[in-house]
Amino acid sequence: MNKLIRFIPLILFFALGIVLFRGLSLNPTALPSALIGKSFPEFSLATVKDATNIMTKADLKSGIKLVNVWGTWCPSCRVEHSYLLELAKSKRFTLYGLNYDDERELAQQWLTRLGDPYQFSAFDEQGKLSVNLGVYAAPETFVVDDLGIIRKRFAGPLDERVWRREFEPLIIQIENERKQRGK
């Protein structure tokens, strides 16, 4: 018994070591979203291309939607842009843009020069919808299912690898759920 007690500090030391070591490999910027499983918030915003064209939640198509938060001030958005153009070709979902904290003219130039992958891009200069979505940086991509429920939030640039790992399984899952409901 006495001998065992002597080892307690050593055991505690190792336990603490393991906990702290795990902490080293955690990503402190990967925050859980508080909005998963909740309905996509209502909004009323003009598009980037046309300040008089007001879009609301009702203008989102049925089916699976991807909402990509971007801004011309965000270098990673530039990185993922070519992949977004690829994604936009897919018929499995529709891609929407949410332009955050930007200048309209710069955003328009961006879309003309680099191409426009979005169905439309909402212009959220004041961060109204972005705050409701809990956006804290760009790029961020949300997956909204056909029932209008937010299923995923991903922070960081998209590419082929990220898509396969993070998005593809979820899209397939939503498609299956839809089929089952259809029966």
Binding site: L31, V131, G134, Y136
Partner: protein, 154 residues
């Protein structure tokens, strides 16, 4: 001379603190709202730059969230409602003072438990040592010595 020196010291010390916080030009309807705004933006954490609060941070998201807090205050929302508003969107993460929940029990009560644990160990060790100490009896020789010492004192 002394007055001048004192003045110099006061001026010197007051120049050591520098505040570099972003300046917003919000106008409040009364002093209380202003104090509440300052308190809330100090309590809420900036989601982007995680080691700063909303009041400190210059990032666009912090500016937006400050405006959001301001607008909610103008609408007459209570502090708890504003905090709830933020938690609903950004999660418990935005609170610098975490709420008591099953997730944070360790955080809130861990230190107290560790202290109790430590105290228990100290008590245990002291008790164990105290017992043989009490059993010690003076030998005849030692008793005589003690008597002699006491006599000398008298």
């Amino acid at each position: 001379m002394f007055n001048k020196l004192a003045l110099f010291i006061v001026l010197f010390l007051s120049s050591l603190t520098i505040y570099a916080s972003p300046v917003d030009t919000y106008e409040f309807k009364d002093e209380v709202t202003k104090i509440r705004f300052n308190a809330l933006t100090k309590e809420l954490r900036c989601p982007k730059c995680q080691n700063q609060n909303l009041a400190d941070s210059n990032s666009p998201i912090a500016a937006d969230l400050r405006r959001e807090v301001y607008e909610l205050l103008q609408q007459g929302k209570a502090d708890i409602e504003i905090v709830d508003f933020m938690v609903k969107r950004y999660g418990d993460f935005v609170l610098y003072r975490p709420r008591v929940s099953s997730l944070t029990y360790v955080l809130w009560f861990g230190p107290a438990l560790l202290l109790l644990f430590g105290v228990a160990i100290v008590v245990l060790i002291l008790r164990r040592r105290a017992i043989p100490e009490a059993e010690k009896v003076l030998t005849v020789e030692q008793k005589n010595q003690l008597d002699n010492i006491l006599k000398d004192k008298e």
